[in-house]
Amino acid sequence: MTAIPMEYGLILAGILFSLGLIGVLVRRNIIFILLSIEIMLNAAGLAFVVAGSRWGQPDGQVLFIFILTMAAAEVSVGLALVLQLYHKFKTLDADAARKMRG
C-alpha cells in the first residue's frame, strides 16, 4: 500500500481542530462548548497518532492514550460543574456566569 503523506493527516487534524475552535467561539450553550473542546482534543490526538505512525514508533499512540485519559477526567469534572452551574443559574448559558468582570 502506498503510504499516506503525514502532512495530509496533520492537515486533517488541523481542520478538525479549527472546526472545534469555531464551535467553542460560536456556541453559547455550555454543553456544546464542552463538546467542541472534545472535538479539539480528538483532533490533537489524531495529530499525535499520525506523527507516531510516520516515525514508526509507538510513542504517538502512548501519548494518545494519555490524551484520552485526560479527556475522560476533564469531561467528568466538567460535566459535574455544568450541573452545578445549571442548578445555580437555571440556564445553560455560558454568559450567565460573568460576575468576575473588570
Binding site: 503523506p5 493527516g9 469555531i22 467561539l25 484520552l68 450541573l83 445553560l92
Partner: protein, 201 residues
C-alpha cells in the same frame, strides 16, 4: 488505501461540521460519535489498531455516553431548542469562521513547505504500545492514574452537592429548604456553600 483515507477524512469533516451546527444537543453528540468512528478508522488505516480500538471503546463508548447521560439528566425541553436558534444567528458565525480560516491557512502553509513524508507503513500493535507504556512512559502512566483519581474525587464531590440540593427542591420539601440548603459544619467552604445559599434564595 489512500482513497479510503480521503473518504474517511471527508466523513470526519462533514460530521464534525454537522456536530457543531445542530440545535438539538443529542443530535450534535451523535454526529460527533460518527466523527469519532471515522477517526478510529483513520487510525486503523495508519497502522495503529490499538488506539483505534481504544478510541471507540473509551472516547465514543464512555465519554460521549457520559455526555448523553448528562444531557438527558438536564431534561431540556423544546424551549432549549428555541433558545439555541435565537443564539445562533448567522452574524455570530462570521468572526470565528474568519479566525479559524486564518488559522487553517497558516497551518497548511507551514505543513506544505517541506515536502511529503510518508506514514502508515508499519503497523504498530498493542504489544509495542504496552512495552512503551511499561518502559519509558511508566511515570506518565502513574501520573495519568493520579489524574483519574483526582477526576473521580472531584466529580464525586461536585456531583454530590447538586444531588442533595436537588432532593431539597422536590415538592413537599420546601419547608425544609432553609434547613437543608445551609451546609453541614464539616463541608468545605466557598463554592459549594455559595451554591447551597444560592439555592435558598
Amino acid at each position: 488505501m489512500n482513497s479510503i483515507f480521503y473518504i474517511l477524512s471527508a466523513v470526519a469533516i462533514i460530521s464534525t461540521v454537522m456536530a457543531i451546527t445542530r440545535l438539538n444537543a443529542v443530535h450534535a453528540l451523535l454526529y460527533f460519535i460518527v466523527s469519532l468512528l471515522s477517526t478510529a478508522l483513520i487510525f486503523f488505516v495508519l497502522g495503529a489498531p490499538f488506539v483505534a480500538a481504544l478510541e471507540i471503546i473509551i472516547y465514543a463508548g464512555a465519554i460521549m455516553v457520559l455526555f448523553v447521560f448528562v444531557v438527558m439528566m438536564l431534561n431540556l425541553g423544546p424551549q432549549a431548542i428555541k433558545q439555541e436558534k435565537e443564539w445562533l444567528s448567522s452574524d455570530m458565525w462570521l468572526g470565528p469562521v474568519i479566525l479559524s480560516t486564518i488559522l487553517i491557512i497558516e497551518l497548511i502553509y507551514i505543513l506544505i513547505q517541506h515536502g511529503r513524508q510518508p506514514s502508515g507503513i508499519i503497523v504498530i500493535g498493542p504489544k509495542q504500545v504496552g512495552i512503551a507504556l511499561f518502559g519509558p512512559y511508566v511515570l506518565g502512566v502513574e501520573l495519568a492514574s493520579i489524574l483519574l483519581l483526582a477526576g473521580l474525587i472531584g466529580a464525586y464531590h461536585l456531583g454530590r452537592r447538586a444531588k442533595a440540593v436537588e432532593t431539597a427542591k422536590s415538592p413537599g420539601n420546601t419547608k425544609d429548604n432553609e434547613k437543608n440548603a445551609p451546609s453541614p459544619p464539616f463541608s468545605k467552604g466557598g463554592f459549594s456553600n455559595e451554591i447551597a445559599e444560592g439555592e435558598s434564595q
